[in-house]
Symmetry: C2
Subunit: 148 residues, 2 copies
DNA sequence: TGCTATTCTGACGTTAACGTAAGAATCAGA
DNA sequence: TCTGATTCTTACGTTAACGTCAGAATAGCA
């Protein structure tokens, strides 16, 4: 878990901040959706930073908006995962070629997400249009009734 | 199950036409998502019409697009259910006042669906914008790299 | 009327995504 | 250092949405 400069949070606080439960957060760590600090000793409390809170929020948002399984989400969020770890690397490398590579990789990940989101949105748009058309037909029938 | 003028279909054919399974169709009937003919004798095969196929398609579409439980879908689809049965009534009533009532009821149901679809679509739009913004930032950083 | 493919009705199995409970351990504050 | 609140780990429980299987019954056709 990346601990930012801000005061570290405990799992209960993160749960409250993100509107979920501690169990869910542990579960997400269990299935690899959340990093899970590799240097935490057995039994010690987990510590989170602002970045982790954002990550959880993002997961929940995608979970609710797209209809993916958490496994699929994990794949999709390789983007985030990669970018997060790459961001740390970015701060410690000076080689422009390497930086370029990392950024372009991030671009690919974002592209994948964008494509998925757009497809969903188009499908919903189609559905919306059909509903509007239905409604129009009913309005028309209503207007053609006697005793208007 | 409403049997239209076209040749009646069996559950396996409906499953194939809608890209699902017979079990799923029976399950949907079991939980009230599909009508289930009240006059079918124990053990006799189910018979479906084109309208039923459309209904199943609609269910699957909404199931996949909105992230609702089938219970919630059943509520939402009271719209369809009501309109379907009302359509039959419509064909057998002449009273304009009654027709007006039925049509206005249908309007309400469609309105409910529309509202839900629109909210989802807006949320997805917001997400899309954010992803595009992220991408733009990365492009900018790339363009500011040396040896462009 | 006989045969075969399909369906019917239970009933139990399965998987994902957590909930819940229990006993021990940790942490922050007085 | 003591203490109360929170967390940890482990493990079993739960629900939705079907899958699967078995034995009997039907439906359509030769």
């Amino acid at each position: 878990m990346s601990t930012t400069a801000t005061k570290p949070l405990r799992i209960g606080e993160v749960a409250e901040l993100t509107g979920t439960t501690a169990r869910t957060i542990r579960y997400y760590e269990e299935i690899g959706l959340l990093p899970g600090a590799e240097d935490r000793a057995q039994g010690k409390h987990r510590a989170y930073g602002e970045a982790d809170v954002e990550r959880v929020r993002e997961i929940i948002r995608l979970r609710d908006l797209l209809g993916l399984s958490l496994d699929q989400l994990a794949v999709l969020l390789d983007a985030e995962t990669a970018r997060a770890s790459l961001r740390r690397e970015l701060e410690h490398t000076e080689d422009p070629a390497e930086i370029r590579g990392l950024l372009e990789q991030a671009l690919g990940h974002i592209g994948t997400q964008l494509e998925l989101v757009r497809m969903r949105r188009l499908a919903l748009g189609q559905l919306e249009e059909e509903l509007v058309a239905k409604r129009r037909r009913i309005h028309k029938r209503l207007s053609e009734l006697p005793e208007g």
